[in-house]
Symmetry: C2
Subunit: 444 residues, 2 copies
Amino acid sequence: MTTLTGELLHPSITDPEMDSMRLLSETALRFPDALSFSSGAPYDGNHDLANLSYYTDRYIKHLRDKGVPEARISRLLFQYGPVNGLIQDDVALMLRQDEGIDVAPEAVMITHGFQEAALVALRGLFTSPRDVLLSVSPAYVGIRGAARMLDIPIRGVPEGPDGLDPDAVAAAARAVRAEGGRPTALYLVPDFNNPSGTVLPLDARRRLLEIAEEEDLFVLEDNPYGLFAREGETMPTLKSLDTRGRVLYLGSFAKSAFPGARLGYLVADQEVTDASGTVRTLAQTLSKAKAMYSVGSSTLSQAVIGGYLAEHRHDLRSATRELAAVYLERLDATLAALARHFPPGGDHGVSWNTPRGGFFLVLKVPFTADLAAMERSARDHGVSWAPMTMFHLDGGGRREIRLGFSNLAPEAIDEGIARLARFIADTPRETPRSAPRETTGDTV
Amino acid sequence: MTTLTGELLHPSITDPEMDSMRLLSETALRFPDALSFSSGAPYDGNHDLANLSYYTDRYIKHLRDKGVPEARISRLLFQYGPVNGLIQDDVALMLRQDEGIDVAPEAVMITHGFQEAALVALRGLFTSPRDVLLSVSPAYVGIRGAARMLDIPIRGVPEGPDGLDPDAVAAAARAVRAEGGRPTALYLVPDFNNPSGTVLPLDARRRLLEIAEEEDLFVLEDNPYGLFAREGETMPTLKSLDTRGRVLYLGSFAKSAFPGARLGYLVADQEVTDASGTVRTLAQTLSKAKAMYSVGSSTLSQAVIGGYLAEHRHDLRSATRELAAVYLERLDATLAALARHFPPGGDHGVSWNTPRGGFFLVLKVPFTADLAAMERSARDHGVSWAPMTMFHLDGGGRREIRLGFSNLAPEAIDEGIARLARFIADTPRETPRSAPRETTGDTV
């Protein structure tokens, strides 16, 4: 048997930086009794296994109701099908109702989740080693991973309490250019960023679109959590404000339906003229990349999600009102427990932000919050979390932890924060001087 | 609205060479009445839409029968699950019965079809721009596409009537090294290659594994058609003969079950030692790449395929006997119709190979068989096919066409070959001198 060492494999597989997610979940798995704030898994809910075959059959009925002939339905579900998918019209209807995004089905590509949508978009738009991806920092690890898979350099733009500052984006684009690179696209989550929970204000959204035009940037808008805003606090997506075709919108059904389906979509309505003068949408043009990743997306996943959309008249915002209430209750429970255990004015050295929604918040602690600290927390105090260094693109976050509360019931949150308070009380404080400086911090 | 030109996109999206598949299917779509030998789609069969929910529920029963607790089954199907999949044990059972491949479930990764398995393997094994993929030529277009997506250079090794000559592989590896490259892996389909239908003899299989060891090559063995050999003619897979851990085996359920599930797998039982000294299988190590492509594979697809495997006691070779007979009948019908229309000794200038199985055969014709010729054939004579130039990696195949017979009933094959004979008779012959030389031929 051949034995290989990791060094023989591509760095996207072996870099410790890329390994942090696995190390995190392995550490969590070694302490199964620990209450876990370390993941961003959605609420397990009261899923009924019978729903899987129910929604499959519901989608078949949906096609029959639309008058699709039986033999065609069979071919659509069993055969190689259209690369860009079967349910683009259903997703377009949903986007119009839920997000005010008005695009033709031809501007939609159905993908195997956010990751494939991101890889397809990056593969299409990044053409030379000079091309640089700008990204909000801290950022979801999946975008960094996608860029690394394609050897695309990524440059973090640090966000503030209100998300990305558009002028900081412009400055980063100019800095990349000054170094001989081409800033090609900007990645961000305007609504409840993972990990920070920030929301970009409306005026910053408009300004960001102007900057994108001025600096010739595409914008990759990732929106997994926007559906779960409080009533009356829903913000317009960048895509719905985009009059100049700058935004590619990346969506997922992992949180609005369930993760197992591995279904997401890319909205790219920009027009592309090919060498023969034919005009197609960017989504249609990128089908060549989609074909090389996985040909079409699973027809079974598309049937279940298509059935779910049809059942709810393509109105997921209404269909997920109860679910949104669950997440908001968990956020509120986390904030309330934190306030009880770390009262204002106390000598605990702990502070946190107060997002209005999403799955996460960030806690500042008076010591280095690395994987070794997380292991002590899980082993000795029965509570796990994620080091913020995992999400920072340019160092930083060494004394911060991400708390993901989406998959914990309020009672578990109360107990988990109590355990966390004991862990923090038990951990020797470092004075700022003894800690490495934020800006030079290694990521885990 | 932004209008882009194709030149702004990555060459894997816009190169005419990569566009041939789309042009081919568009041409075929423009002439819907033409009988199509141009695709490799499997037999449409007598698929029953009710089977989709049946097999989903069958898999749930399979898990219950194994004693998996109800809450765990629900989490496996609805939540984010294990990146490498849910049904590796089922696939390992199948591989032992069907192919004599004896690996642990930990050596199996479930993927979104062959394409994702190939991308994961290529991403892991190819670490520097010097690394070169050797491939049988002519080859399935998907492997070329996967390599192009990752900017991996690919070098064709021409095959003969009995597939790849192992010594030609050794010579190609040495030639790459002499040019300063690193020959990293070899791609081939040992059983019924697409497009040529060749089968690698047993002694060449053994020799190829020795060459892989001598030249330090991994072997990517792609086996979509091996299940459909004639009784008594099944050949051992390279993986089952591999004692030195040289082979990564890539499988797909597109032909053994149905393409819509978009489900395949990668077998990689090589041991990898990481920086901390932990030993994992290569399949486990590559889960980092799989996570970045699409996290896990669709649980719905895994449930349907897992249910199908359980229903057939993991013995797909027996389960597909009738299907194999369908394909062999179609191959025989194609060969018989060709013999009728192009009798031996006739002045037709047409010849073909006689594969023992698979979905394809290759016809030599006395004129340039490019997309323009295919369009004339479809428009004026009602029959479509694929130019062989699409599959050659280093030019060649200009006067050859691929006939895919897997999705045509015998009567349609008879009629299609009659139409093809009229098209060929109607097309002016080119003398070899007037045609461009094979070795300099542009691909379509």
